[in-house]
């Protein structure tokens, strides 16, 4: 079958010594970065972009894929041990994982997270191998008008379904779109919002924005909280493994989590939070059935197994719209998109035809990355925990040095440091006032794409601006987008995720 032979070719490529080594490095760096405060997969990839230009594109993406998954795993570790979620999608893990750690069951929590992620990742990668080419062939017949509608849907869901407040998400998105306007308009050569500053002619660089918003703002945030006491790190007593009863309680949540995570993550709609929260609610409700042990609230292993599997499956799912449509639905996916563009590769329907080896190697290395994560992290978890014990001052100062290095090294222009600092301050203020960061990045990245589809669609229709509502498919998608603005209220009731503030 076509998929199988392609996948085999991908595996063959991915197992070459240099590529394999890079996968290993990626997974390790990713976990480390996921565990440490301040950097996450998105900003780490952004920092490494200038470096990886020297690499073969396939190798670079294998590295990024490793960082992507490693970061997710590192986030679960801090969720369980520190009660600090690495990303919003790790919040359910803190709910049951941390109590488990406090009761001395931290090893089991980590084990179920790792194995569950592996199971979910394996199933997802296989599923994606079939799903993605199919979607790509459908995607080939998509017209600019439909593309526009899909991007609008992605925007709406990223803004409305993440975080606590729809208005804040939209505000973040709007600011991101505004930032995306800066630069020379490709269709007419007209300079927009460049204020006669030459460095702005090509728009703001993503590396500076991402590093500023994540790394620098984290450093500033640490500086603003010096008087607060550090979170207690739960120690891992006993071995990091699971008993038979643990496994028998975990495997069904693993599968259920995967089933929730993959389809929802694969939609061109926002990310991994919903599946993980849904999985948590589902597992909690199922644990209340008669004859089952219900430890929810005190450290129920099902509450870690399900959400972690869902998290990994959703992560894999996010790659589907990225590769087949070129639409990133999370900040991390956004950075990957930029990485593709820097190699002059445009993800989208054509990708599977034009660069088959790249795509299949990427998918193969995802699978290999999953295996590596499992093999590495179960024994290495104690090392990561020791890292966390390093003094904050050292960690944060180092992060700052590397952040500035990453921003500066590509152009050697101090201007970029200025941009990064500005976004650092912005990021700090955003955190303090509860504004989600992902919509801003997605808006800044996709704004130009949205505009070009918009203009092309209207040009194709001969100047008819209503083309988006007269064409049935785009009209349907836009209607779904409009409904999605209301969906948060509905979904919150279902999944039981209650934010502090409602609007």
């Amino acid at each position: 079958m076509d998929v199988a032979s392609n996948l085999l070719a991908g595996f063959e490529n991915a197992l070459g010594p240099q590529t394999f080594l890079l996968a290993l490095v990626g997974v390790t760096v990713g976990t480390m970065v996921g565990v440490l405060p301040g950097l996450g997969p998105a900003s780490t990839m952004a920092l490494l972009l200038p470096l990886t230009l020297h690499f073969d594109p396939v190798d670079a993406f294998v590295l990024f894929a490793g960082i992507y998954y490693g970061g997710m795993y590192g986030g679960s570790t801090t969720a369980i041990l520190l009660n600090v979620p690495g990303e919003t999608s790790s919040v359910p893990t803190t709910l049951e994982g941390h109590p488990m750690a406090l009761r001395g069951r931290g090893g089991q929590a980590l084990a179920t997270a790792a194995i569950g992620s592996f199971v979910a990742g394996t199933i997802s990668t296989v599923a994606i191998s079939f799903l993605a080419p199919a979607m790509a062939s459908v995607a080939k017949s998509i017209q600019p008008a439909e593309y526009f509608a899909i991007v609008v849907l992605a925007f709406v869901t990223v803004s409305a379904l993440i975080g606590d407040s729809v208005v804040r998400g939209l505000a973040s998105l709007s600011v991101g779109l505004s930032i995306g306007l800066i630069g020379i308009d490709p269709l007419t050569g007209q300079a927009r919002y460049t204020f006669d500053v030459p460095q702005l002619y090509d728009g703001l660089r993503l590396v500076s924005i991402a590093v500023g918003l994540f790394a620098i703002s984290e450093a500033l945030s640490v500086a603003s909280r010096l008087r607060e006491r550090r979170a207690r790190v739960a120690t891992i007593e006993g071995r990091v493994r699971m008993s038979r009863s643990d496994v028998s309680r975990s495997w069904r949540p693993w599968l259920r989590g995967t089933a929730l995570g993959l389809p929802i993550g694969a939609l061109p709609a926002g990310g991994a939070e919903i599946p993980t929260f849904l999985s948590y609610s589902v597992e909690r409700r199922l644990a209340r059935r008669p004859g089952r042990t219900d430890e929810f609230g005190n450290g129920a292993i099902e509450g870690v197994a399900g959400p972690e599997a869902a998290n990994n499956a959703a992560f894999s799912g996010v790659l589907v719209p990225l590769l087949t449509l070129g639409i990133p639905t999370s900040a991390t996916a956004g950075v990957m998109l930029v990485a593709f563009q820097m190699y002059n590769i445009q993800p989208g329907p054509q990708l599977f035809e034009n660069e088959p080896l790249l795509v299949w190697t990427l998918l193969a290395s995802l699978y290999i990355g999953n295996v590596m994560l499992l093999a590495l992290n179960l024994p290495l978890v104690r090392v990561w925990v020791k890292l966390l014990a390093l003094p904050t001052a050292i960690l944060t100062a180092l992060i700052l040095v590397f952040a500035i290095l990453g921003v500066y090294s590509e152009t050697g222009d101090v201007f970029e440091i200025g941009v990064a600092v500005t976004f650092g301050v912005l990021g700090l203020l955003m955190r303090r006032s509860g504004f989600p960061v992902a919509p801003l990045i997605v808006g800044a990245l996709l704004g130009p794409m949205l505009e070009s589809h918009f203009r092309r669609a209207i040009a194709l229709s001969g100047g008819d601006t209503l083309v988006f509502v007269t064409r049935p498919i785009s009209a349907t998608i836009l209607a779904i987008a409009a409904l999605s603005l209301l969906a948060p209220m509905v979904l919150r009731r279902i999944s039981g995720y209650s934010p502090v503030d409602q609007d």
């Binding site: 603003s224 100062a397 101090v414 303090r432 505009e451």
Partner: protein, 170 residues
Amino acid sequence: MEAQPSPPGDTPWLDALAAVGVLAVGLTVLVGSRDIPDVQATGVGPRVFPQIVGVLTTTTGCVLLGQALRKVIASRRQRRRDPQPRRASTSTWRAVLVLLAAIVGYAAMLGPVGYWQATTVFYVVVSRVLGSRRLLRDAVIGLSVGLAVYVVFDQLLGVALPDGLIRWDL
């Protein structure tokens, strides 16, 4: 770990400031769009999308401002009814400002002084601001990291980093 937004509603004045910020961006976009000539002969020119974005941003800014002002009024009313001693804020904003100044200084020094030299100083300053009291240890770390990066990037990878006053050659 990546940024976790804190729940809105903790600091009403900051929310108002943020709303004003969003509004300012929106108005800048709208006002700036007037300077963009609508050059395209057919279809949609380069001015339309900025105007749409400007309207969207300004609108959300207004809504946010309305929400924030309502919260400010509500919290003032609550404080008048139930006066509690204001908890001293634990935030150390001065450290933030010093850190910002350090970064700006670092950026300025990179060219004239050189990468590894500036990095050493920067690292020591930042560690101190963040609470470290072990000057010698930090100086050693800063110097090692700065030199290591300089050697790897400038010499091995060919990515130029400023040499400044002292140049090392492998």
